[in-house]
């Protein structure tokens, strides 16, 4: 029992520090300015009080944790634990400033270098007994390099790094129906002017970048589609990839003019960096950092009145990469 108590005292003392003994141990440097730890029983009491406060907060945390019905549990838990550490900080600060000797000592910086040791190392290496040093080094380098390369090669299996065909693949082909998020097909006559609709390729995974499109309707006389998009509309209904060609965010904004003489023209806008695409001109970039027009999907209306794709997009979807202008999308 006495030993256990002594152990606890020792631990506390080790933490809090004690007065240095005046006699010097062999090899110990003389302190230049030794401020003896001032006797401050008040500070000691403050530190002890703060530690007990910290203990109380710790217990409070457990109590709050156990009590189920308390509202704002996260706030109370954080407050309890946070305050526990605040009191601990305070106790340690009091200790550092008033309970521990603040000695300012001098010491030498270590040597800049050790020329003799350096010399000895160089000697040891040089005396290694090799005659064809350069060739050895070359061979070693070759072995290390190619083995290293070999060990790294399986990394290429992480993905189709050398076969990028998938980057051109879309789920759209001639006749693919446009469906909404619930899988119900869109009828041409439900697409109204002044609004925008999100559609997907029927049967495809909705999360695929090429699957989602945004559909809008403009009056036919407002269309100014470029030659490569001629005939892409279905009675004024236009469809574009919903994925911005700048950095891949979903183009979730559509701006429609309330009053044409004063308001900006219809545009699809990306909320990430505000690339703005003009549907009337086939998805041309009219503002923002996108470097490529929005891919357009040609539409047609089938005999039952449902919207279908007439073919694939006019360009690959999603953010640009080195081959984005080299091939057309595939199905």
């Amino acid at each position: 029992m006495g030993r256990a108590r002594a152990f606890l005292v020792a631990a506390a003392v080790l933490l809090v520090g004690r007065r240095r003994k005046r006699r010097l141990r062999p090899g110990e440097r003389e302190p230049i300015v030794a401020v003896p730890a001032p006797k401050s029983p008040d500070a000691e009491l403050v530190a002890i009080g703060l530690l007990f406060a910290a203990a109380a907060c710790g217990i409070a945390f457990v109590v709050i944790y156990v009590l189920d019905r308390l509202p704002a549990q996260t706030q109370l838990l954080g407050l309890a634990l946070g305050l526990a550490f605040v009191f601990l900080t305070a106790a340690l600060t009091v200790t550092a400033k008033w309970l521990v000797p603040n000695e300012e000592l001098e010491d030498d910086y270590p040597e800049h270098e050790h020329p003799e040791e350096q010399e000895r190392i160089a000697q040891v290496v040089e005396e290694s007994g090799l005659t064809r040093r350069k060739l050895f080094a070359l061979a070693l380098g070759a072995a290390g390099g190619s083995i290293g390369l070999a060990l790294l090669t399986p990394v290429a299996s992480l993905g189709p790094a050398l076969h990028l065909a998938r980057f051109y693949l879309t789920p759209w082909r001639r006749g693919t129906r446009l469906v909404n998020e619930q899988g119900e097909p869109y009828r041409a006559d439900e697409i109204e002017e002044g609004s925008f609709y999100t559609a997907f390729a029927e049967g495809a995974d909705k999360e695929g970048l090429a699957s989602s499109i945004v559909v809008v309707r403009l009056p036919r006389n407002e269309l100014e589609l470029p030659p490569e998009n001629a005939g892409f509309d279905a009675r004024g209904i236009l469809a574009f990839s919903k994925i911005c060609t700048h950095a891949g965010c979903a183009i979730a904004l559509y701006r429609k003019p309330m009053f044409a003489p004063t308001d900006p023209q219809p545009a699809l806008i990306c909320p990430c960096h505000y690339s703005t695409f003009e549907p009337a001109t086939g998805g041309k970039v009219i503002f923002g950092p996108a470097g490529r027009k929005l891919p357009m999907l040609p539409l047609t209306i089938d005999a039952q009145g449902f919207l279908r794709a007439k073919g694939n997009f006019d360009s690959p979807v999603g953010p640009s990469w080195w081959g984005v202008r080299m091939k057309k999308p595939t199905s």
Partner: protein, 245 residues
């Protein structure tokens, strides 16, 4: 005899009400002539390429917009325009309740338009509302309706929008906002969206002080101006020692 009495009673009630109706429309026409005609034209025909007092005066026609639109624009203070030529925004409401009713009645009389909607958020589903809001609204208004930017305008935060105004705005598509017809967003779905917008005014903030509901920007401000400042302060306290200047 009793029938005649009932008829007289009815007339006593209906005729003043009817007169109040037409009275509203007449009063509305007078107010319209004072505040609206310069941009919206006589009989709500709209004005294109007009000028008055050196300023451009243009405005869309109001025929067929119905009580719904007039109610929205007047009760939010979008109209009369705070600054001609600038985006219409929520601002001072210039008219009293009676005047608004009069103007709404007048605009409603300019053709067949939708009446003021009566959304029932309590019938809506909050989770369907979040889904619909994400799909149709969050791109401009931000996921917790804190408002957002788009090229050409600003989508306002919805903290001051009443359920009726939300339902109205969905149908009108004010300024640059798309308009969603009942076919695209059904009245039941409007109830859900309204319910979500009401929730967004006071969402679940179980994590503590919400700091604006827009994510990392205010979080960064707290990191630097609260946490980093406090910790640098602690460093200053601990780094100095007693007895040293």
């Amino acid at each position: 005899m009793r029938r005649l009495f009932a008829l007289a009673l009815a007339a006593l009630v209906i005729v003043p009400a009817a007169r109040a109706q037409t009275g509203d429309v007449t009063r509305g026409r007078h107010l319209y002539g004072q505040y609206c005609i310069a941009c919206h034209g006589a009989n709500g025909m709209g004005v294109i390429g007009g000028r008055s007092e050196g300023q451009k005066r243009e405005g869309p026609p109001l025929a067929g917009v119905g009580a719904l639109a007039a109610d929205f624009y007047l009760r939010t203070g979008y109209m009369p325009l705070h600054e001609v030529g600038k985006e219409p925004r929520r601002s001072r409401v210039l008219f009293s309740e009676d005047e608004i009713r009069a103007l709404v009645a007048y605009v409603a009389s300019l053709g067949h338009g939708p009446p003021v909607p009566k959304p029932r958020p309590e019938r809506g589903s909050i989770s369907e509302g979040l889904k619909l809001f994400t799909d149709h609204c969050a791109g401009c208004h931000q996921i917790v309706a804190q408002g957002g930017f788009l090229t050409g305008g600003v989508a306002p935060p919805l903290d001051r929008a009443t359920p009726t105004q939300v339902a109205e705005a969905i149908r009108i598509g004010p300024y640059l906002m798309p308009r969603f017809s009942p076919r695209q967003i059904t009245p039941a779905q409007v109830n859900s969206i309204v319910r979500y917008v009401e929730y967004a005014k006071n969402p679940d903030d179980r994590g503590g002080w919400a700091i604006g509901h827009i994510g990392p920007v205010p979080e960064g401000l707290v990191t630097w101006f609260l946490a980093a400042t406090a910790l640098v302060g602690v460093c200053l306290v601990l780094g100095k020692r007693l007895g040293r200047g």
